[in-house]
């Protein structure tokens, strides 16, 4: 039975009703400014890591909000924590703290 191909087909839509929001909620608790993003992209434009890798700090917030957290930890390793994103953000979001907190929470979950 399990060899049928149709069982392997993954739907590509964002499954809003089955989102994994645990990480999101924990990040928001630690750094509420995370919720205020208007996706203007200033952070990504100025990001040193983003200029050489596929790292996109703006998308981190979307990824998390849509529960697409697979591979997130790997992605965050590209961040150099230089804080330029925090400096340019028009909404004064503490992005460096967001990154730190995601790392911390993911680590905590792994060791738990």
């Amino acid at each position: 039975m399990s060899t049928f191909d149709f069982l392997k087909v993954r739907r590509l839509y964002i499954d809003y009703d089955n989102l994994d929001q645990e990480l999101l909620n924990e990040v928001i608790r630690e750094e509420p400014s995370f919720q205020w993003c208007i996706s203007c992209g200033c952070c990504t434009a100025t990001c040193s890591a983003g200029n050489h890798t596929t790292f996109n700090i703006r998308r981190i917030s979307l990824i998390l909000r849509r529960g697409e957290i697979e591979g997130l930890e790997e992605e965050l390793k590209k961040c150099m924590l230089c804080g330029k994103c925090t400096l340019v953000c028009p909404r004064d979001i503490q992005l460096r703290n967001v990154v730190m907190n995601i790392k911390k929470i993911v680590l905590k979950k792994k060791t738990a």
């Binding site: 208007i38 203007c40 992209g41 434009a45 100025t46 703006r58 340019v88 028009p90 004064d92």
Partner: protein
């Protein structure tokens, strides 16, 4: 005895005065500068239909000759004495003016773009503000500071607006449509020039604004990039390099441009803020005067006998300013009527 006082000789103050005079009420109109018309004089044409601003200003041409109007030019009001009835305004030069009621039409100022140092205004000559571009449009002559025809111009939306870092977290509302208006006018003057608008959200709130946006794409090939400017730098040939993220593609973007137009937002004027502070008038979170409420008393202040007209309470278009000024005039009239009984 002339008792109604209007502070500010921009279109709000002029419209209030015009209506009150029409009702046979004498008015003292006080302007701190030497010309009437305020900020509107900086604009050549108005969105959304390119009406010449002179046409609007022309409506007030005969106002100064009205014998019921006492016009005080070059007069800066410093304080209000609330202990007298009517209130007394004191100017810097020591003139005392009775005010019952007082209508505050002190307008706005544009954001000082030098505060966003990373955008390069005041540092790189090719970076100008929308007000400076408008002057060039008025003269039908758009050139770079080096006298060349710009081959590529980038309009930067939300400069000093929606920006917690400079303390203006509100949306200035009019810059989006102004950018589109100016982009079209620029394209008309310079058909060969490439034009890009960098925006966060395009707020086309007026009935015909969306049409103008469509027209900008359809007829004028103006390009829209969803991303906010992050930083500007200058190359050896004096052209500018701008960095933003093309957020819809999801990648950082770098672009060379000959000219950068910063769409500076409206903010409460320094005069308004100081005037409010020294006279105990209420200022809202965004630095503008705080009306009694935001629904049916937008022209009333918290204080009896003091009204607001126009952009002294927040960003407004010319049409909205005129309507709001009329509302202020009406409030003043009913206030005077109530007083009679």
């Amino acid at each position: 005895m002339k008792k109604i006082a209007v502070i500010g000789g921009g279109i709000a103050g002029l419209e209030v005065s015009r209506l009150l005079l029409q009702e046979g009420l004498p008015v003292t109109l006080i302007e701190k500068g030497s010309r009437l018309g305020g900020n509107l004089r900086n604009y050549a044409h108005l969105f959304p239909d390119f009406t010449p601003s002179d046409e609007i200003l022309g409506n007030y041409r005969f106002l100064p000759s009205n014998s019921d109007l006492q016009l005080l030019m070059n007069t800066q009001i410093e304080s209000i004495d609330f202990s007298t009835q009517p209130y007394t305004l004191h100017s810097k030069d020591g003139i005392a003016i009775p005010a019952d009621p007082l209508i505050i039409a002190t307008g706005y100022q544009v954001f000082d773009a030098k505060l966003k140092e990373e955008f390069g205004y005041g540092i790189y000559d090719g970076v100008i503000t929308s007000v400076e571009l408008e002057k060039m449009i008025k003269q039908h002559h758009i050139v770079t500071p080096y006298g060349k025809i710009p081959r590529r111009i980038a309009f930067i939306h939300c400069v000093g607006s929606r920006d917690a870092k400079v303390g203006n977290s509100y949306c200035s509302r009019l810059c989006c449509i102004t950018a589109i208006k100016q982009a079209i006018e620029t394209k008309k003057l310079l058909p060969e020039t490439e034009i890009f608008c960098f925006y966060i959200d395009l707020r086309m709130y007026g009935l015909t604004f969306e049409e103008l946006y469509l027209n900008a794409q359809k007829e004028y090939n103006i390009q829209f990039v969803r991303g906010r400017l992050s930083e500007t730098s200058e190359m050896i040939d004096k052209r500018l390099i701008i960095k933003a993220e093309d957020t819809l593609i999801g990648r950082p973007l770098q672009m060379k441009a000959d000219m950068l137009v910063l769409m500076v937002g409206m903010e409460a004027s320094d005069f308004s803020k100081q005037f409010a502070y020294h006279n105990g008038l209420e200022i809202g979170d965004h630095g503008f005067f705080q009306p009694l409420n935001q629904f049916n008393a937008r022209s009333k202040s918290q204080k009896e006998g003091i009204f607001f007209a126009g952009t002294s309470i927040g960003p407004m278009s010319v049409a909205e300013t005129i309507e709001h000024a009329r509302a202020a005039a009406l409030s003043a009239i009913s206030y005077l009527k109530d007083k009679e009984y």
